[in-house]
């Protein structure tokens, strides 16, 4: 069993048991235990939580960091946990009698600890034990005689309780940040269908049949976007084949690293992020409720409606009053459009978390939300749908966000507008997360023979601004969460007018974004 086989839900469940027993929710648990089917293990997670409550955990963390320098760290850590488990068990039993029934058969451990020891004494005892018994110096080096193969016989299983798996995130205590080792550019002379096949292996299966694509391109890829193409996907992986394989494998590996980093970043700030979600959803909920529209209905009591009064006398119909009924202004949808071009690469983790927070908050308010990312490559603007209106509760797909290529903001916004125009919601909002730096290698060309001008700088900004205003004219509110650098603030102002915010302090994310969204909702009610 590896980390991948355990569902997010079970991980969160394990977290919650640990937090509960630690009496503290302000840390991201390191060790978590699961049973052989991948379900969170109650007993061991209680023990992990109790260790936090009863000892100075930062000192234990140092011990784990020391053990992690060794190849067999999992074995050593297991020895330690098996040694401390009886101590914690006995100390907690009177406060939590149910533990007596839950405890599995205790494991033998040569490391002896007892309840009277302080954290320092425990750490000292453990260090001494690991030095004397296994020759660990504590700095990754080992005494010579212990390098003999006898250690290999100590597999993790022989220490762990049968069927239980203890996992802590790889490289937790001495990990390096997964790094970015240089951009690459793709030059190609492939035909459009070949490119489509390439994009399928790169971004995932196309979700729009070819004939529909042709229609959409005719409708959308005009004007400044003539001779460019569109590609829609949900990111479902296609089996690798042919000449791209080795190159693609490398790409995929890098992509997987980045995605793991997105999730890790969110988890690292879990508590803060969750607070942001609940804060944002409360704000949005309040504003939706506050600005609901009211409609008068006929009623048997209330304010007399003179126009109906005759009915009482003539027809005996006593429903001649008017009562105001508030109808749900929840008839609203939100689209998140994420700029996934390479310039966003360093901020990918932050952007995916922001998108996740917004979509979770909206989901809690039952506002349908769709998340799409866009980037451009080889003349194609790729729109990747992460989740759609009314899709099931899990928004965590957003962490698959990956930034590469160029960005043709104008076309992307136009395409997003087209997607939105297909739904029947009364109020539509488009939130763009972007650094407002449109740039695409595919030039602006008037006709086949035109060499064209580049799609960047002021030309691209004007084009994007134009598209934003076109959507606004159609009644869609377009707002921007600016993710770029100060020098591009003026571009954001030019493209989005007043309706953008810059996140300077992530802990104020909910306040800032909430205010922007609420301003739009206010407009709906007037």
């Amino acid at each position: 069993m590896t980390d991948q086989n355990i569902t997010e839900l079970q991980k969160r469940r394990a977290d919650n048991i640990i937090w509960n027993c630690a009496g503290d929710y302000s840390f991201a648990p390191d060790f978590k235990a699961y049973d052989s089917s991948g379900d969170a293990d109650l007993y061991w997670n209680i023990i992990f939580g109790l260790a936090r409550r009863r000892y100075e955990y930062e000192k234990l963390e140092k011990l784990f960091a020391m053990l992690d320098r060794y190849k067999n760290s999992a074995v050593y850590e297991t020895i330690f946990w098996n040694a401390i488990e009886p101590v914690l068990f006995r100390a907690e039993l009177c406060e939590r009698p149910v533990l007596g029934r839950m405890r599995p058969a205790p494991a033998e451990s040569e490391l002896k600890l007892d309840a009277a020891m302080t954290t320092d004494e425990i750490v000292d005892a453990a260090r001494r034990f690991f030095y004397e018994r296994y020759g660990l110096y504590g700095d990754g080096k080992m005494r010579l005689k212990y390098r003999l193969p006898h250690l290999k016989r100590l597999s993790v299983d022989s220490f762990l309780q049968r069927g239980r798996i203890v996992i802590h995130e790889k490289d937790l205590y001495h990990g390096e940040e997964p790094g970015w080792n240089g951009d690459y550019s793709l030059s190609t002379k492939l035909t459009v269908p070949e490119l489509r096949a390439f994009l399928e292996t790169k971004f995932g299966k196309s979700i729009v049949p070819p004939e529909r694509i042709a229609q959409l391109e005719k409708q959308l890829c005009s004007g400044n976007h003539k001779f460019t193409h569109l590609f829609y996907t949900r990111g479902e992986t296609v089996e690798l084949r042919g000449v791209y394989s080795s190159f693609e494998l490398h790409q995929r590996k890098r992509q997987a690293e980045l995605i793991a980093n997105n999730r890790a970043w969110y988890r690292k700030n879990l508590l803060r992020n969750r607070l942001q979600i609940s804060k944002l959803s409360t704000d949005i909920m309040n504003s939706i409720l506050l600005h609901m529209q009211s409609a008068p209905v006929k009623a048997g009591a209330g304010a007399v409606n003179p126009a109906l009064a005759w009915r009482a006398a003539r027809l005996g119909d006593e429903r001649v009053f008017t009562r105001t009924e508030n109808e749900n202004a929840g008839d609203m949808s939100v689209d998140l459009l994420l700029d996934a071009s390479h310039s966003q690469y360093p901020r990918a983790a932050e952007i995916s978390s922001q998108a996740y927070i917004i979509s979770e908050a909206l989901a809690r308010c039952r506002v349908p939300c769709r998340v799409t990312s866009f980037c451009s490559m080889s003349g194609f603007t790729v729109l990747r749908l992460f989740n759609d209106y009314g899709s099931s509760g899990d928004n965590s797909g957003i962490f698959d966000y990956y930034a590469e290529g160029c960005n043709r903001d104008g076309l992307a916004i136009r395409a997003a507008g087209e997607l939105m125009s297909r739904s029947a919601y009364e109020h539509k909002m488009l939130i763009v997360l972007s650094d407002v730096k449109p740039m695409d290698a595919a030039k602006i060309r008037k006709d086949e023979r035109d060499v064209g001008v580049s799609y960047d700088g002021i030309r691209a900004l004007t084009d994007t601004a134009h598209e934003v205003r076109r959507l606004r004219a159609e009644g869609i509110s377009v707002i921007c969460i600016f993710t770029g650098e100060d020098e591009d603030l003026s571009s954001a102002k030019m493209v989005y007018g007043q309706d953008f915010v810059r996140i300077r302090d992530f802990s104020l994310f909910a306040d800032t974004v909430g205010k922007l969204i609420i301003d739009q909702i206010k407009n709906y009610s007037t």
Partner: protein
């Protein structure tokens, strides 16, 4: 009820003044049925003193606090202590002047006035409990301004204005920051004395359990108390919603065990199942099963 106040450490002179208040404002025979006889007592000596003094001074109260802090229990206890008939008004989004003061209705072929709860309460000199006052829009509450401040009148447009009977008080409750609630505007807030309701302390919860279930063994009262605290901490960390943080449910669970269910069955229907989300339910189950042995029955947790 007054003996209970003495246990809570309320000074004798305040109790005398309550008795004086009671005899000064007798309750009409027809309204007697509205005087509550509370099932639960509110424990919290300091708060009692604040509230009693405010009411004796002619002020209205606003009780602010999160879920399971006993806002309504306290309000009901106050009505009982002062021996006043109680009118409960639950506020909701569409609460408007008509639903508070009264509305026109049709009776026997002519338009007549149907009294709303605030009007009735003001006539009878009762205690009006304005529950979840911040659920309603502030604009629709403007009609209460004159009722709640020194003017002490109820204005009925098109009919008359009445003066509040001198014994009338209003006790509003609100849960700040709850979904669907809004900020209470200053005009309204300034017409109340505001009491922040603390979360029930472990000691008081144990007291409450002991009072309700005298035969419950002390060790289990304390386990249930700790369990409740653990659920609350999980709510405060926004890991779960407040659905499972249900004091009524906890008390009901004990009754259910007394009447024959196992601990597991009782906690399932009284607390765990209140989280409708399957995953949230798992989290609550985990808290319960890492604290309480589900197989426990009446024989084990109650003294025989």
């Amino acid at each position: 009820m007054l003996d209970f106040l003495r246990q809570e450490g309320i000074e004798e002179n305040l109790i005398e003044r309550i008795e004086q208040y009671r005899s000064e404002y007798p309750v009409a025979e027809g309204d007697r049925i509205r005087i509550p006889s509370p099932k639960f007592r509110y424990y919290g000596g300091e708060l009692w003193k604040l509230a009693i003094t405010a009411i004796l001074s002619g002020e209205n109260l606003l009780l602010v606090g999160p879920k399971a802090t006993g806002k309504n229990v306290f309000a009901e206890n106050l009505s009982a202590v002062f021996g006043r008939p109680e009118w409960d008004v639950s506020f909701y989004l569409n609460t408007d002047a008509a639903s508070l003061i009264g509305t026109d209705t049709f009776k026997n072929g002519e338009v007549s006035f149907r009294k709303g709860p605030v009007y009735a309460c003001a006539e009878a000199g009762g205690f009006g409990v304005l529950d979840e006052i911040n659920m309603a829009k502030n604009e629709s509450l403007a009609v209460l301004h004159a009722t709640l401040d020194f003017r002490r009148i109820v204005e009925v447009p098109g009919y008359s204005r009445i003066r509040l009977a001198p014994a009338t008080r209003f006790i509003a409750t609100m849960n700040y920051g709850y979904a669907g609630t809004r900020e209470l505007n200053e005009a309204l807030a300034s017409r109340f004395m505001v009491i922040n309701m603390p979360v029930i302390s472990d000691a008081n919860l144990e007291k409450l359990l002991a009072q309700q279930y005298p035969s419950l063994k002390a060790e289990y009262a304390s386990q249930l108390t700790v369990l409740f605290g653990e659920i609350r901490r999980k709510c405060e960390s926004s890991e779960i919603s407040t659905k499972a943080l249900d004091l009524r449910g906890l008390l009901a669970a004990v009754t259910l065990v007394y009447n024959g269910l196992s601990m597991q069955q009782a906690l399932n229907i009284a607390i765990i199942n209140k989280s409708f989300d399957a995953f949230e339910r798992t989290l609550v189950e985990d808290i319960v099963s890492t604290r309480i042995d589900g197989k426990l029955t009446k024989e084990e947790i109650f003294l025989s």
